[in-house]
């Protein structure tokens, strides 16, 4: 099995709890990274699949029935941070990326879990 290649994004402390930040990966992919209030981390594609603008990182995070979600700031569809699936239209999903903290630095998997698992 090949390990996904990870890219360092920023210091964990730079992320605001309950808010997202966008990162540009080496291959041009845009990823939205979210730090929740319990300090858990999620990374999904930054591209809003409905309006096709790179804005997901600017959405509000929260939960729907316990599932952690981010809401697109454009037309307010909610996406699961775990699976990327849009809870308002299950035919649509954001790509999900592996994310980890190593020595205080946030690192995002350049290969998505979705792609790696397919």
């Amino acid at each position: 099995m090949t390990e996904p290649r990870f890219e360092s994004i920023c210091d964990f402390d730079l992320l605001i709890p309950g808010r997202g930040a966008a990162a540009l990966l080496g291959d041009g992919t845009q990823v939205a990274v979210f730090r929740l209030h319990d300090d858990s981390l999620y990374a999904v594609s930054n591209r809003d699949p409905f309006m096709r603008a790179n804005v997901i990182s600017r959405g509000i995070v929260g939960d729907r029935g316990g599932e952690p979600v981010v809401t697109s700031p454009l037309l307010k569809q909610a996406f699961s941070l775990k699976s990327g699936v849009c809870l308002d239209d299950e035919t649509v999903a954001l790509e999900v990326f592996a994310v980890e903290v190593v020595d205080g630095a946030v690192r995002v998997g350049a290969v998505s879990e979705v792609k790696a698992g397919a």
């Binding site: 309950g18 808010r19 930040a21 096709r52 603008a53 804005v55 600017r58 509000i60 929260g62």
Partner: protein, 830 residues
Amino acid sequence: MSKRLVVIGDGMVGRRFLEAVTQRDPSWDVTVLCEEPRPAYDRVRLSAFFDGVSAEELSLASDLPGVEVRLGEPAVAVDRDAKAVRSESGEYPYDKLVFATGSYAFVPPMEGADLDGVFVYRTIEDLESIKAHAEGRRHGVVIGGGLLGLEAANALKLLGLETQIVEFAPWLMARQLDEAGGGILKQHIEKLGIKVDCGTGGSRIEAVDGRLRMETNRDGVAFDTDLIVFAAGVRPRDQLARDCGIEVGERGGILTDLSCQTSDPDVYAIGEVAAMEGMCYGLVAPGYSMAEVVADRLAGGEATFPGADMSTKLKLLGVDVAQFGAFDGPLATTYLDPVNGTYAKLVLSDDATTLLGGMLVGNAEPYPLLRASVGGKVPGALADLLSGGEVDAALPEGAQVCSCNAVTKGEIMGAIHEGCHDVAELKACTKAGTSCGSCIPMLKQLLTEGGVEVSKAVCEHFAQSRAELFDIVKVTGITTFSELIARYGAGVGCDLCKPTVASILASLSNGHILEGEQAALQDTNDHFLANLQRNGTYSVVPRIPGGEITPEKLIVIGEVAKEFDLYTKITGGQRIDMFGARVEDLPKIWRKLVDAGFESGHAYGKALRTVKSCVGTDWCRYGVQDSVKMAIDLELRYRGLRSPHKLKSAVSGCARECAEARGKDFGVIATEHGWNLYVGGNGGFTPRHADLLLSDVDTETLVRTIDRFLMFYISTADRLQRTSKWVEGLEGGIDYLREVIVDDRLGICAELDALMEKHVENYADEWKGVIDDPEKLQRFVSFVNAPETPDPSIEFETVRGQKFPAGTTARSHAAPVALGIPVTLRSEGK
């Protein structure tokens, strides 16, 4: 031993079947042979591929347990004696076999149909070839003016080609529409710049000087073009079945009975390839029904095909088209409005009491009601139904509300009585509204009919209304969201409660809205202190109190817009909006504005927007008070005030009311003796004139009353309730409001005054607060790991001398508006 199931084809119906069969009977060991290199995708939305929707986004694929999908591996033969399917590379034994091979595009026999530049419209690969060929070319012809042809024409238009539709039938969508309906549709489509020739068939294609020329059945009519797309219908892909001796229908398709079983009891056929009792269905909904039937049969059930509802409702090239029930009948009544481009036809029983069917073009709003009423009583006055007017009708219990999933009104009402209280629950419980979604407005109506009261709870995290939360925050002195939700809510919050609480905290405590934990609560506009636009850029609207501005400041706005290359537009609120600002440029723009004596303004958020004014006594011959100064004073007093919804205001200098103050949440109109105050007006979706609260009062009384009005509203209104609905909702209405805030009947005026005093004292320029704070500035970047890099996906194009988000502006067409219906064929050639 597990049972082996082989499915040939992974299209929309095949995929629906896989989902159904794995859900009902997971014991099947399923192999899918798929010719295309990618798993099932939404073929119905194929033209969206040229609208920037990627193949991944069209995909319907999902991981299903026990299912192996073999992509790019078409079945080549079926050995029914050995019960096995062969491909080029393998052999797959089956206990049961399902054909879901769909259709292929029909190309009429025509000389030159195999030339380079001639395509069909069926798969993503077809679209990719069309796209590659269209590169650098100008013109395309679509053969076929039915559903598929119009989709293909949309695709060519999205590729930027001049598009010509050639249809053999005498009008467009001849299978769904009559002549008049087809005529109205043509009128709409020609307005989009697409040319349409009906009654015309291609006779041969030849290559001429690197382009194509198609001659037609009409003398002297030929088309010179760069590419030709056949979209003139489909034929069932039944060859594999024919080869292994399974019976096929007279007009093609694998012959099945109502259980989708073929002449071989171990073999089923579903979707477009199935000729059920001889009839092939070219729509996805009947295919889905077949998928469910076979899944049920394989799980030991006895399901049979419930009959196809061939009703369709589509948006083709932006035009609503719907057809339901019978196409024609004993009695038909029509309505044609060539000015608005709408056409409606209802087919009735000979005594005109029973609705049998009909069609709608241009306005399909009555479709859910009409489709659900087919076979029942005509659901309202004919004139209203035909003209798309308001219809107030109760459906019979047996009427089918969701035809995709065959759900009746009776079943939905039953689910409501058993505890389904919103559309999401109804969808989950009855499956109604889960396919095409056209019945969702009906579901909402039925919820109301079923007596479901709309809860005032803010969201799933807070059972309280906004007004209750406001009281809780005020009384407890809580200053953070996390404390409020821990003590009075549940979960971690969402995009509904977080901004609501942020607004309450801002109304009551006046810290910078991006300070500490509050930053995470704000909607993106409040988080970036600017208006998010569709492409991810923001707009900036400098505050121009009362709409009064010096020439020097006008020049500064112009200079800022030029320096940062912003699109500019005058707003309805007497301001100047600058669009297309990138996140990382926002603080730089504010710095320039602040240095020139501006602040950026609230053109976003639930807050005071602007106070408009007319020029009043200073210049106007009629003015009786200084409306400009009053507007400036009011705007500066209430700027930054966070509220349940946006607040707008205006001041007019005389009764001529040039500032349109009565269309505002609070409007002031000058009189010879002082001021009149009006409250509860708004423009927007449901315009409402404001009601007179006070007349002929002096300035001090006016301002004090507005203070109290605003604070009473902010303290007690629901989330997103504008002042108009709030006043209407007060028991006793405007008279009660006057008793509370003028006569102080509740004894709360001192408190309301104090709240407003605190707001006015603590107001600080929020934008200056960011540019003076390095920590907040840090957030204004496109990328946290590349602060200097702007978002490379944001692109602009120039239209009318200014920049616009790329790919969004409609190309303007200078075509005249056609009046009357073009039902006669034009005889001139191209």
